[in-house]
Amino acid sequence: MSRLSRHAWTLSLLAGLLLLLLATKLIQPSFGASGLESLARAALPFAFATAAMAVVVIAGGIDLSVASMMAVCGVTAAVLMQAWGPAGTIPALLAVLALGLLMGAINGALIVLTRVPDIVVTLSMLFVWEGTALLILNAPGGAATPWLREVILGAVMASGPLSLLPWALVVLALVLAAIWLPLRRSRLGLAIYAVGSDATAAFRSGVAIGPTRVAAYALAGLLCAFGGLSLTLQTGIGEPIPGPYLLPAVAAVVLGGVSLTGGVGGLLGPILAVLILRTVRLDLTLLNVDPNVTTIIEGLIMASVVMLGGLIALRRRT
C-alpha cells in the first residue's frame, strides 16, 4: 500500500477540517484568532480524552474510565496548586502526571492479573476513580495557578503571523508529539500495535503481552492527567464529577480511523476528528441552530460514517 492511500483517511479528515474552518469564516466573517482560540480551548479536554482512548484501543482494549481519571487528576491539580502556591506549581504538575500514570497502570495491571475483559474492569474502575475524585474534593473547589492558566487561555502572540495560533493547540501538539512520536517508533510502540493486532501472534514473536498492555493503559492514564489538568486550568477550579468525555472520545476514536478491534490507526486521525466535531458544533451554534439539534447531527455523522465504513469493508471482502 502506498504511503498516500495508507494515510487517505487522515488526509480526508484534515481536508474536512479545513473546509469546515473555511465554512466557519463564511458564516461568521469576524471569526479569527479569538474564535480559533475558544474552539481549541473547548476541544482540549476532549482531545486528551480521545488520545488516551485511542492508545488503549490500538492496543486492543478499551478504557471506560477515562472521564473519571480526568476528574481525579483535575481535582488533585486544583487541591495541590492551592496548597503549594505558585512556587509549587511545577511539583504539583509532576505529581498529577505521575498520578495519572499510576491510575492507568493500576487499570492495566488489574486487567492483566484478573483476566477479566477490559471493558468490565474499566467499567468497575469508572466507579472507583469517580469515588476517588469525590473523596479528594467533595464539591467543586481548589484553585489553579494563574500564570499557568494564561498559557492555556491565550494566544501565542498578541499580534503578528503567530497571533492566529492558540496556545491550547500548541500545548496539545507539543504534548502529543513529545509522548507519541518517540513511542510509535520504539520497541514498546511496535509492541502495542502488535498486541492490538493479534495478541497470540505477538506472544509467539516474543512480545511480553502483559507488560505491554499495562504500559498502554498507563500511557492512557498519563494522557488523562493532561486532560484533567487542562480542565482545571480552564475553569480555575477542580470539579469532582466526571464530565461527558467518555462517549465522545469513543466516537472520535472510531471516526479518526482507529479500528475497535485494535492494531490499526494512530493519534492524528482521532485528534482531527475531535476538532471536526467541535467545529461542527461551533458552526451550528453560529447558524443559530438549536443546540439539541446539534447533538442529533453529531450522532448522525458518527452513525453514517461508521455504517458507510462498514459497507465499504463488506464490498471489499466479497
Binding site: 478499551i62 488489574l110 484478573t114 483476566r115 477479566v116 475483559p117 471493558i119 468490565v120 474492569v121 467499567l123 468497575s124 474502575m125 469508572l126 466507579f127 472507583v128 469517580e130 469515588g131 476517588t132 475524585a133 469525590l134 473523596l135 479528594i136 467533595n138 462517549l247 469513543v250 466516537a251 472510531v254 475497535l260 438549536d290 439539541n292 439539534v293 446539534t294 447533538t295 442529533i296 447531527i297 453529531e298 450522532g299 448522525l300 458518527m302 452513525a303 461508521v306 455504517m307 458507510l308 465504513g309 462498514g310 459497507l311 469493508a313 463488506l314
Partner: protein, 331 residues
C-alpha cells in the same frame, strides 16, 4: 489441606462450576446476612418488597444487555430508549390519554432498536459504536421533542404509578401486602425470557451467533435477521423498563434511566454473561440485579462518604466478576 477434605472440596467446586448460579445466590444471601448483622431487624417483608421493587427496572434493563451480550454485542442505547419511552408516555398522557400514550411511547424505543439492528446486522458496525450513536441521536431528538410539548405539561399515568410504586397486586390480602405490583409484569417477562433463551430456536440462535458467528452463518443462519430481531427486542424491553421506572420515580426527566445503564451492564456481567458472547443467561442477571440493589442499600447504611461508597461498589463488581470467571474456568 487434609486428604479427607480434598475430595469434598473438589466435589463442591465441581458443583459450583456446573451451577454457577449457586455461588451467586450464596453471595446474595451473604450480603443480606451482613445487612441484618449491621442493622438487626432491617430485613423484613417490607424491606424485601422494596428491594425487589427497585431491582426490577434494573433487571429489565439488564435483560437488554444480557441478550445482546449473548451474541457478543452490547446495547448502550438502552438507557436512552427507556428514558425516551418514559418521557413520551408522561408528555403524551395529557394529550392522548394513558392507554394510547403507553402504546405510542413504546414505538420510539422499538425504532431505536431497529436502527441498531440494521447498523449492527446489515452494515456490520461494532455494536458499541452503533448503540452509542443511536443513543446520542435519540437524546437529541428527545430534547427537541421536549421543546414541542413543554406547554402541555406531563402526567404519569395512574396505571404506571400503580405498576411501578404500589404493592399488593390490587388485593387486600395480608400475605400480598408487601409484594410489589411490578412483579405482575416482571414475572411473566422473566419466565418468557428464561424459557426463550434455552427452549426456542431464537434463543439458541443467540448462543450460536455469539459463540461463533462464522460457523452459525455457514450452518445456514441468516445472522442479520437474528441481529435485527434481537436489537428490536432489546429496544422494546428498554421501552417497557422506562414505563415501569417512570411509575417508580414519578418524575419524568431527560436523563431518567441513564444512571441505570452502567449498573445494568454490571448486573449482566456479575450474573455470568460473557461480554464476548455465547455464555451466560438471564437467570444469573436477575440475581446480579438483586445483588447490586442489596449492595447499594448496604453501602448506604455504612454511612461512608459518597466517594468511598462508589469505590467499594466498583471494587466489588470487579471482585465478583473475577471470582465468577475463576469458578467457571473462563479466564
Amino acid at each position: 489441606m487434609t486428604t479427607a477434605l480434598a475430595p469434598t472440596l473438589a466435589r463442591a467446586g465441581r458443583a459450583l462450576r456446573d451451577n454457577p448460579l449457586i455461588a451467586l445466590v450464596l453471595l446474595l444471601i451473604l450480603l443480606v446476612a451482613v445487612l441484618q448483622a449491621l442493622r438487626p431487624g432491617i430485613v423484613n417483608e417490607r424491606w424485601i418488597g422494596n428491594t425487589v421493587k427497585f431491582a426490577i427496572p434494573l433487571a429489565m434493563l439488564a435483560a437488554c444487555q444480557t441478550l445482546t451480550m449473548l451474541t457478543g454485542g452490547i446495547d448502550l442505547s438502552a438507557g436512552t430508549a427507556a428514558t425516551v419511552s418514559a418521557f413520551v408516555v408522561a408528555t403524551q398522557t395529557p394529550l392522548l390519554g394513558p392507554g394510547a400514550a403507553i402504546a405510542v411511547a413504546l414505538l420510539p424505543a422499538i425504532a431505536i432498536g431497529l436502527v441498531n439492528g440494521v447498523g449492527v446486522g446489515l452494515t456490520r458496525v461494532h455494536p458499541l459504536i452503533m448503540t452509542l450513536a443511536t443513543g446520542l441521536i435519540a437524546t437529541g431528538c428527545l430534547q427537541v421533542y421536549q421543546r414541542g410539548v413543554i406547554a402541555s405539561g406531563s402526567v404519569v399515568p395512574a396505571a404506571l404509578e400503580w405498576l411501578g410504586t404500589e404493592r399488593g397486586w390490587g388485593t387486600d390480602l395480608p400475605v400480598m401486602r408487601f409484594v410489589p405490583n411490578a412483579l405482575l409484569l416482571f414475572l411473566p417477562l422473566a419466565a418468557l425470557l428464561l424459557w426463550a433463551q434455552r427452549r426456542t430456536g431464537f434463543g439458541r440462535l443467540l448462543y450460536a451467533v455469539g459463540a461463533n458467528e462464522g460457523a452459525a452463518r455457514l450452518a445456514g443462519v441468516r445472522t442479520w435477521q437474528v441481529t435485527l430481531a434481537l436489537y428490536a427486542l432489546s429496544g422494546l424491553l428498554a421501552g417497557l423498563t422506562g414505563l415501569v421506572y417512570v411509575g417508580l420515580i414519578k418524575a419524568p426527566s431527560l436523563s431518567l434511566a441513564e444512571p441505570l445503564l452502567l449498573p445494568a451492564v454490571a448486573a449482566a456481567v456479575i450474573g455470568g454473561t460473557s461480554i464476548f458472547g455465547g455464555r451466560g443467561g438471564y437467570g444469573g442477571t436477575i440475581v446480579g440485579a438483586l445483588i447490586l440493589t442489596v449492595l447499594g442499600t448496604l453501602l448506604t447504611l455504612l454511612q461512608m462518604p459518597e466517594g468511598a461508597r462508589r469505590i467499594l461498589f466498583g471494587l466489588i463488581i470487579l471482585a465478583v466478576t473475577t471470582l465468577y470467571l475463576r469458578l467457571t474456568d473462563q479466564g
